[in-house]
Symmetry: C2
Subunit: 467 residues, 2 copies
Amino acid sequence: MSDTHSRPSPEAVASVVAALAQRFESRCVTSQAVRDQHAHTLTWLKPEPPDAVVFPRTTAEVQEIVRLCAAHRVPMIPFGTGSSLEGQVNAPFGGISIDTREMNRILTVHAADLDVVLEPGVTRTTLNSHLRDAGLFFPIDPGFDASFGGMAATRASGTNAVRYGTMKDNVLALQAVLANGEVVTTARRAKKSSAGYDLTRLLVGSEGTLGVITELTIKLAGIPDAISAGICPFPSVEAACEATIATIQHGIPVARIELLDEVAVAASNRYSKLELPVTPMLFLEFHGTGAGVAEQARLFGEIAADLGGGPFDWATEPERRSKLWQARHDAFWAALALRPGCAGLSGDVCVPISRLADCVAETKRDVEAFGLTVSMVGHVGDGNFHALVVLDNANADEVGRCKAFLGRLVERAIAMEGTCTGEHGVGQGKMGYIESELGLGALDAMRSVKRALDPLNLMNPGKIFRL
Amino acid sequence: MSDTHSRPSPEAVASVVAALAQRFESRCVTSQAVRDQHAHTLTWLKPEPPDAVVFPRTTAEVQEIVRLCAAHRVPMIPFGTGSSLEGQVNAPFGGISIDTREMNRILTVHAADLDVVLEPGVTRTTLNSHLRDAGLFFPIDPGFDASFGGMAATRASGTNAVRYGTMKDNVLALQAVLANGEVVTTARRAKKSSAGYDLTRLLVGSEGTLGVITELTIKLAGIPDAISAGICPFPSVEAACEATIATIQHGIPVARIELLDEVAVAASNRYSKLELPVTPMLFLEFHGTGAGVAEQARLFGEIAADLGGGPFDWATEPERRSKLWQARHDAFWAALALRPGCAGLSGDVCVPISRLADCVAETKRDVEAFGLTVSMVGHVGDGNFHALVVLDNANADEVGRCKAFLGRLVERAIAMEGTCTGEHGVGQGKMGYIESELGLGALDAMRSVKRALDPLNLMNPGKIFRL
């Protein structure tokens, strides 16, 4: 196959759109407004809308769409909620956006097995509302109310990955329509299997480049009997990281351990009218049994005190926990409020936890050097942090400095044996870094797999790596 | 490429062996005895020895071997400790066994990051001895002292997967030599990443069919501050499964939850001179903080009592825990002792936990119907169990009944939405089941990936699926 992609001919696109319009009627839309909504709209990346948007309801309909597009060599872009942050839904070569919002049924909850089978358009808060009475929950909580198809495709994560894992760990099985129009089911409902290649985890994180996810079997957790949560100040980010390392090494199964730097804390003080000490803080949450969560909290307090931190202010009652965590919940809005009218751009890197303090420290030096407004929030138990830049998008000089700053952040993480993207995926935005992170051998292996499963390069082309 | 494989010509093999002998001298062995040791020797599967065995010491040496074999179209079979159970190390088309025993260095322990970088020939007990002083451990404990390369290749698991996961969850990154002789590094040392396709988990469980693993970055856990463990009788397997479900749903982070059926318990009573009630029993272990493990044990005891089980006899002191768990530790030998001089064959299936009791019950009916001696041990928290058949290998009729029994066990598990192999892999032994489990779509996707990464089908041919 050719190494470069090009737009299909206008005739090919017109044929496909006409056929989709006839087949799906009002569920095939070509208005400019809807097409624009289906391009990447959340960051600087240039929006590149599709030629049309179609809203299938069943796996069989997805197959029809895929076969039609494939026959005319027209690209396809799977679409969940459009909340991805690296241009994953852009259509640089045009094509058909396959919007899964009408595939939104929760099919079966298997409470005893702690799993649920659902369609890709279901969003996480919808599922959690549905599950509450069963005493179950789906633990992964990325910033937006994302769809399951989208979360699987980007290997999404959230604030409690340190205990519950990421999408890599919580997708038991997938059903997907591949580029050849065939339906693949990657696994059954067994909790573990050694039966052949792990197609589930090949598709998870493949950002729509290998197929359209049409059904998922998702792992659930029991809503914990008890939760304790609280906040703990530290004299430095380094001390906070050391406390995190010690906590995890002790086998304390901490559920959330989030870092706010002093800029983020100060911003939250202003925004939420709090009076927290302006110093790096850890926000922690423990899940388990009544005595267990109290003991975990107490032990953490001791660890913190040994490292010069504390006091650890914690509680078990929901209202008090919520109040204690307010600065964390408001962090994004508080940062934006530092410069009203400005936009926010979130860098996302992940390093070995032993390098996190250095990574944050060097990043802060860059913040000074580049004269930017940056608030830092980290999922410190995973070594993952977000540098939230608050900037005036209309100021070309500031935009330039921000881009340079974020580029250096990624290079820094890679140099520290980390990754260019902890959670947000590669999409278009990070294509430039993946080879320096993983090397040519890995990239060539990915290209080989892509060519094998999508020889015409019609599934979300122009994402993750250049062919 | 052709759909069938054939042995390379004797001349091609001789060329390769001669070149390897010249290059590696005493580290290339062609004696019949050593070749026979490198064929599958642990079950009925016919041993199929390689033409020669070579013992590389470095990744660069592995690359040389791979390139030489590839140039002459000679198959390669990666070899760890030879403890796999489905014929994974057999050489049905001859070829070169690449024995990694001399690649046995533990390279770097990153205690703060809870990871270790090591060579594929390192075995798990070697690593755990090395780590003890650091207060760390590698939790996966398959029955043999397997190598890390082998455990990764078969997606191995053990008794504490319910808390610590399987190899799928504990391999952070791999380095491997692919069929084209190129070295691939699949990831960095970040705890999570969304950077492209998950090549790590493509290789984990690929049973040597996609490349030779030459280095691994493995996740570690802290040795828990405290452990409680004990045993609990139940009136039925069903009640034991219900107690397991309830325990997990409560979010109790149980570390081990093992089921022995009454046959296994009776066998252990005889073998270890115990006086356990002859009824299904759960053997549990909890890890965590001092008060935490006591509370977990207490809560489990209540759950068990509610379901007609108990009393739950448990302890925290190492000697008492060991004594309580004796029947579980001795289960394999106790079963063999039921019929001295006979062999043991372990079936391995995994079903959704809600189907486990039915699966065990139906399997027991088959045990009666087929007139076999079978003791059952289950990693019940995962829905995985082993039917250990004790049989006289020389009795053709009994062997025939055992094969039929094990075949029906696999079909039963698949029919219950489970898998034909929870832990042992597919190899040769379960090739016949993988398509009925996953369907043609998934198998074709695996074949496409295999053909893309190993177009000449030289990497451990004749395993997992027919091309």
